[in-house]
């Protein structure tokens, strides 16, 4: 039973890590390699607002999400615009920006044993004999709300519909008056905001360190590659495969194999179906 419950929690955490990365890539084709850095940056922003400005966590968390979204938005105009359309350059620029953020945080002293965000609610319950804390239940609920919210957003709002138009065909979207740079910038802002929301619910489970940024990026990449880079359904499938795979590996093979699972999954999927389980980018080439 604990395998089922903690596998589910682990899967949802991975989905939360990935949802912003996948959304940005799905809309603008931009692989934001600064995604992990933005995730942990938002955590430190919230911590700083709480401890330096004395704000409550709820306010700090909301401000951190907004600030991170603004950073994502600014990223597009400052860093991406000049290299837009050159995938390798976009990747290098975002990766460099991510490393710069992480190193800057380390240099500014954001490491050690003191950085931790508070849980939303203390305590926990037993489900079928398995102890589980409220924060992890909040993580589960957040994952569900985020997925449903995103679906409603992209299907029933003007910006969401513009996102979908861009994702389906950029030139056609341009011809009907959708400005691609604005949508690109908004996709980065939304991706960054989703990374920050994930951080606000997941980071209270432990302590914070800038190196988490690298881990989050690797997990997001693994899930996105396994599921299919631009596919929401693929993202969910990838999260569950890797999430349950990790917990099962730890339980039945050995705990140290947990970190191998996402990397092994990347290698396996790239060699068997490079588009990922639900990806369509290279589907034609794969068939040929």
């Amino acid at each position: 039973m604990s395998l089922l419950i903690y596998g589910l929690i682990n899967s949802v955490i991975l989905a939360l890590y990935t949802v912003g990365f996948s959304l940005t890539y799905g809309i603008s084709g931009l692989a934001n390699f600064a995604h992990g850095a933005l995730y942990i940056l938002s955590g430190f922003v919230a911590w700083s607002l709480m401890n330096a400005a004395g704000l409550p966590f709820a306010v700090s968390g909301i401000l951190a999400v907004l600030i991170t979204a603004a950073i994502g938005f600014a990223f597009y105009w400052v860093l991406i615009l000049r290299v837009r359309g050159i995938p390798l350059a976009e990747l290098i620029v975002t990766f460099a920006a991510g490393v710069a953020i992480l190193e800057l945080m380390t240099w500014k002293g954001f490491y050690g044993l003191r950085y931790s965000l508070p849980v939303f609610v203390n305590g926990g319950v037993e489900i079928a004999g398995v102890g589980i804390d409220y924060q992890r239940l909040i993580v589960l609920a957040s994952g569900l709300v985020l997925v449903i919210g995103l679906w409603l957003f992209v299907h029933h709002t003007r910006i969401g519909l513009a996102f979908r138009a861009m994702a389906q065909n950029e030139r056609t979207a341009l011809s009907i008056g959708i400005e691609s740079d604005w949508i690109g910038a908004l996709s980065l802002a939304f991706g960054a905001a989703l990374a920050a929301i994930a951080a606000m619910v997941v980071l209270p489970l432990g302590v914070m360190e800038s190196t988490i940024g690298y881990d989050v990026l690797i997990y997001a990449l693994a899930v996105a590659i396994v599921g299919g880079l631009e596919s929401t359904l693929g993202m969910i499938a990838g999260s569950f495969l890797i999430g349950y795979g990790q917990i099962a590996a730890a339980r039945y093979i050995g705990a140290k194999w947990m970190v191998i699972v996402p990397l092994a999954a990347i290698v396996f999927v790239l060699s068997v179906k490079p588009s990922g389980i639900f990806g369509k980018f290279k589907e034609l080439e794969e068939r040929v």
Partner: protein
């Protein structure tokens, strides 16, 4: 004429002002201490602070007497990043070697964070013949390699404890727990690195020998962020004790919170930096109550009433830097190492590495961490009996005081104890 004299006098005085500091600087060349370590970890950062504190004290008294001359210490640093989970040993060693070749230190203190780097770096230190007093890395692999060629590695010393000492303290505490409370099922979780594996292995073997049932012995990668598989198994198996050895703050912090969140009804003991830290209650919450941790050696972060030197060092540290050191380990060793080095230099009156190594071998220093002497393997002698005869450690437990405030209470060894081990109410029959 008068004008000429004025100009001449002016130039003369100016020349003196310019030349005097240079000639003085030339005569009081500082003794350079290299600190190549993982600076962006609590251990490296606070170790460096402890070194700087000791250097400040020594320099304030005029420096170190080398022969007939007093010379100040100067600290040069290199961040090896060796304590970060993703740093390859080779990268850490490159930073180490760069410090040696560029700054040409007369001695090295603190040194490698990770044992893998310490052991691989022994050849480097031997090659450049620089006396080194390492104070972080804990693997017994150091003495194994040392004994393969003591002549070659004679410049290397370890001022702090090693995993054997740490495990002895914890094993003795396990014996007390078994005898006093009848605990008999244990589960061990460790970070999959040399020292932690050695440390938890020693605990596990001791338990097997003394009649404990070992339910699990799981190694997690240093970057792990989910411990639910082990904690679930521990809960399902109704273990009474979880032994945990981990030094990377991230994983240790996740574990500490997850242990409390999953309500595993087992006593927690080991080395888990966020749980042992003076700020654990603020960072992790009240779930730290009853958890037990080792501080190696004494004086790293916990002032002990029965060893006033620990309080002196920690109050000086707090006054200088505004807070106590974060990690319950090795900070006092870094502080002691500088005085041990100064002491050896003064005794030999030279910075010659061979003479200095010989002088270090004869060290007999009453430091914060106890009496420090080196054995034939060049490691400081630590024990569990008497701080006047050897270096010592302490086991403490988070307990509530009469006002309901959580405090770290020393519980073992008896000569340092300020309270008794408490069993959590949810474990009492």
């Amino acid at each position: 004429m008068r004008r000429g004299a004025m100009i001449f006098s002016g130039i003369f005085l100016l020349a003196i002002l310019v030349v005097l500091p240079t000639s003085q600087a030339a005569t009081v060349k500082p003794i350079v201490i290299g600190v190549p370590t993982s600076l962006y970890t609590p251990f490296g950062r606070d170790g460096l602070k402890a070194v700087n504190l000791a250097v400040k004290e020594i320099n304030a008294k005029g420096g170190v007497k080398v022969g007939t001359q007093r010379r100040p210490f100067k600290v040069v640093i290199a961040d090896t990043r060796g304590g970060e989970p993703n740093t390859p040993v080779h990268d850490a060693l490159m930073a180490y070697e760069r410090l040696i070749t560029k700054e040409k230190p007369d001695a090295i203190v603190v040194g490698a964070f990770r044992s893998e780097v310490l052991i691989a770096g022994m050849d480097l230190v031997a090659k450049y013949k620089i006396p080194q007093l390492s104070t972080i890395a804990q693997s017994p692999g150091f003495q194994k390699k040392f004994m393969k060629d003591p002549k070659k590695y004679k410049y290397l010393f370890r001022v702090t404890t090693d995993a054997l000492v740490d495990a002895t303290y914890l094993n003795n505490t396990l014996d007390i727990l078994k005898k006093k409370f009848g605990l008999k099922n244990a589960y061990f979780i460790y970070q999959d690195t040399l020292w932690a594996k050695a440390f938890s292995g020693l605990m596990s073997r001791h338990c097997k020998k003394t009649g404990w049932k070992i339910v699990g012995f799981d190694g997690y990668a240093a970057g792990a962020t989910d411990f639910s598989p082990a904690l679930s198994k521990a809960r399902e198996s109704k273990v009474q004790l979880i032994g945990m050895v981990w030094d990377v703050p991230l994983g240790a912090g996740v574990f500490a919170k997850q242990y409390a969140a999953m309500k595993v009804p087992a006593l927690l003991i080991g080395f888990i930096p966020p749980m042992a830290s003076p700020m654990a209650v603020k960072t992790l919450g009240p779930g730290v109550e009853y958890s037990m941790s080792i501080e190696f050696p004494v004086g790293a972060s916990l002032p002990l009433k029965k060893l006033p030197k620990t309080g002196d060092f920690l109050s000086k540290f707090k006054k200088e830097y505004g807070a106590l050191p974060e990690a319950a380990a090795v900070n006092s060793s870094a502080y002691d190492a500088v005085f041990i080095l100064a002491n050896a230099i003064e005794r030999t009156g030279s910075l010659n590495p061979d003479k200095l190594a010989a002088a270090l071998e004869k060290t007999d220093y009453a430091g914060v961490s106890g009496r420090i002497r080196f054995n034939k393997q060049h490691i400081a002698v630590f024990g569990t009996k008497d701080p006047k005869k050897e270096g010592v450690c302490v086991i403490f437990q988070w307990q509530k005081d009469s006002a309901g405030k959580l405090k770290r209470v020393p519980v073992y060894p008896a000569f340092l104890a300020e309270g008794k081990i408490q069993l959590p109410p949810w474990m009492k029959k």
